[in-house]
């Protein structure tokens, strides 16, 4: 099968959906010129009316999407870097998340939001922070992030077709990751986790760049006879807890890798849910690999604090070292 990079798989999702539905359009800053390659060249096919550049005015820019969605259109908003979404956070999170519910289910907001996120570029906090946990905290917005080119195309298409607001960032650390991507139309439904590697000794829940890291660790530990089941949540909201609990019936041990700050993170939510709903399945405490509660430093220091293969391996070994009661 044909291979594409993750970023080109996202672009193909845009192209197919823009062709399929006239109500779909993109708004952002310098997306026509392709500040990141997922929008490069789109303006040539779809024109400046549908690949819309705004001034550096995030509220106004997001307002194009919000107002147009209320008018029945299906905007895709590109925040460029995830941290930039916070400039208009009250609109894109609070107002957007509450809209359908608070206003009596009269009108849904089919807005797709995206941005590049994550460590690896040594750009420091505002250009490196993860945003999925923060958006997941605010009810009314679906939140997802792809880990492979295949998922990227299918999940972005699912997000664009969803009648709800969806925040679907992509990790800059796997932007050029190559993988098989079908040329035909398909969607990967939001809210369905995916077992990326089957195993029996320990379950590792990881996403995006960290999913790729977890797979590397699983390969290495396989040589020692340790069998890791690696699950990609794919969506944080809605979250497919069932798949994780089913896996724990087999492995009884869970490591959650989440490239987000420890406090208030998705990893904590998973840990709490597993404790409440799967306590009897556990032979060891749920162990988390997260960013420490400090602003993400730039430069080489980023490498010391970000989740990586060594930290994931250490966490797996620590939960395996626990003797079942």
């Amino acid at each position: 099968m044909r291979t594409l990079t993750l970023i080109d798989a996202i672009k193909e999702a845009y192209q197919e959906e823009l062709r399929r539905d006239d109500d779909v359009f993109m708004v952002g800053q310098d997306i026509r010129g392709g500040i990141f390659p997922h929008t490069k060249g789109l303006v040539e096919e779809f024109g400046s009316d549908r690949i819309l550049d705004t001034p550096i005015a995030e509220s106004g820019m997001y307002g194009v999407a919000l107002g147009a969605a209320q008018e029945g259109m299906r905007p895709i908003v590109d925040f460029m870097f995830g941290g930039f979404s916070y400039v208009t956070f009250s609109e894109c999170s609070v107002t957007t998340g509450q809209y359908h519910f608070l206003h009596g289910s009269q009108r849904a907001l089919p807005i797709t939001m995206t941005a590049g996120v994550g460590t690896g570029q040594r750009l420091a906090n505002d250009h490196a922070m993860s945003i999925h946990g923060t958006f997941a905290h605010h009810p009314g917005i679906k939140v997802a992030m792809p880990s492979t080119p295949y998922d990227a195309k299918g999940m972005f298409k699912a997000a664009i077709r969803d009648n709800n607001p969806v925040m679907i960032p992509w990790h800059m650390g796997i932007m050029m990751l190559k993988g098989e991507v079908p040329e035909e139309d398909y969607v990967v439904p939001l809210g369905v986790a995916d077992i990326k590697r089957e195993g029996t000794d320990v379950t590792v829940l990881a996403n995006s760049l960290q999913l790729q890291n977890a797979l590397k660790v699983a390969d290495k530990l396989h040589g020692e006879g340790i069998s890791c089941e690696v699950i990609d949540p794919r969506s944080f909201v809605p979250f497919d807890l069932e798949t994780v609990l089913r896996s724990l019936e087999k492995t009884n041990r869970l490591v959650v890798v989440d490239e987000d700050w420890e406090s208030g993170s998705f990893a904590n939510t998973v840990s709490a849910k597993v404790m409440e709903q799967g306590f009897d399945l556990l032979d060891a405490p749920v162990t988390r690999v997260t960013l420490p509660d400090m602003p993400v430093p730039g430069g080489y220091m980023e490498d010391y604090i970000a989740p990586n293969v060594n930290k994931i391996e250490a966490a797996i070994r620590s939960v395996l070292a626990r003797i079942a009661a």
Binding site: S59, G63, G67, A68, E71, T95, R107
Partner: protein, 334 residues
């Protein structure tokens, strides 16, 4: 008024409509105030008394498919009745009833998508961002729809206001930036919070035409609004209309009536009340032979009867009482 802008003359029917909506709006505001004091309204109420003319002038000649963001003062009721929204479900919503326009979930965050009144936000100035989107969608459709974006002097402190002015003028969107300047944002005096006496001076920096009108004179407001609406419909872009208006009452019921940190003076109140908009309009329609005293009394009576029906609808409805499961199922759309 900016000399480059055209002027308009109101017809007899337009004057009668404006006077009628002004009387209705004023009675609606007083009803809301009374109900809040009676404990028959949920949340809070930001009284509009003294500042009811701008909303009537802005909205009486909008079409159903024009977008409207109502001013938060009066909780938008004056703007909405002027646009033709049936507000029975608004009052039901504001009393927590299951017949409310938002199923009793919103307190006062009403929305009427079929009238393109999409939201009332709890954030002042959060009209400005979606206004760009409404304007952009209207322009893209090319059917001559306009966006009436009403908010107060205080809202123009938000950076969003400036972004919205920038983008609306850049793209020549059919938007009316309709500023109801009552010179008060909670307690803060506009004189102290803005560098120039006219908020509409902002428009100059974007090359946007602007008008300043007497916001106590509903007819003057409507003339300005019609000029701006006409420009927008013809694709000539946005206009800034600033109405100099008043706020007779405190910010919201129960807060002290301060300017800055001091009680507003009796002199200020007396001066304001000399320019009460319904009194001014009544004098004018009588002097210009638009309406007789008898017709005026009929208009008041009809307004009071209408409001009685609106209150009865709310009062006779049940308190919304969904289960938590039902509410959870409503967080996302299908």
């Amino acid at each position: 008024m900016n000399t480059a802008l055209k002027t308009t003359t109101l017809s007899h029917e337009q004057k009668v409509k404006l006077f009628t909506n002004l009387v209705r709006g004023n009675h609606y505001d007083k009803m809301m105030y009374r109900r809040m004091m009676q404990g028959k309204l949920i949340g809070f109420y930001h009284p509009a008394e003294g500042g009811v003319a701008p909303g009537v002038g802005a909205c009486s000649f909008l079409n159903q498919d024009d977008n409207l963001n109502p001013h938060h003062r009066g909780h938008g009721i004056i703007h909405m009745i002027s646009k033709g929204v049936d507000v029975r479900t608004f009052l039901a919503e504001h009393t927590g009833k299951d017949t409310g326009c938002c199923k009793g979930r919103s307190a006062w965050h009403f929305s009427y998508p079929e009238h393109k009144v999409y939201q009332q936000s709890g954030f002042i100035g959060h009209n400005f961002a979606p206004t760009v989107g409404w304007g952009w969608a209207a322009k893209r459709r090319g059917k001559g729809q306009v966006v009436m974006n009403c908010s107060g002097d205080g809202s123009y402190g938000e950076g969003r206001a400036h972004e919205s002015l920038l983008m609306a003028q850049n793209w020549k969107l059919p938007v009316i930036f309709f500023c109801e300047n009552n010179s008060m944002a909670i307690f803060a005096s506009a004189e102290e919070m803005h560098p120039l006496p006219d908020i509409s001076s902002l428009a100059q920096g974007f090359g946007m035409p602007a008008m300043v009108v007497d916001g106590q004179d509903v007819f003057a407001v409507a003339e300005a609004a019609l000029v701006a609406i006409d420009r927008a419909r013809r694709g000539e872009g946005p206009t800034f209309v600033e109405c100099k208006t008043q706020r007779f009452k405190e910010h919201d019921i129960g807060t002290p009536d301060l300017r800055g940190w001091e009680e507003r003076s009796d002199e200020e109140h007396q001066q304001m009340r000399n320019r009460e908009p319904v009194t001014l309009a009544t004098e004018k329609v009588l002097a210009d032979d638009v309406l007789t005293q008898l017709q005026i009394e009929d208009i008041h009576e009809a307004a009071l009867r209408e409001i009685e029906e609106v209150e009865a609808f709310a009062d006779n409805s049940e308190i919304a009482n969904p289960t938590e499961e039902e509410l959870m199922a409503a967080v996302f759309a299908d």
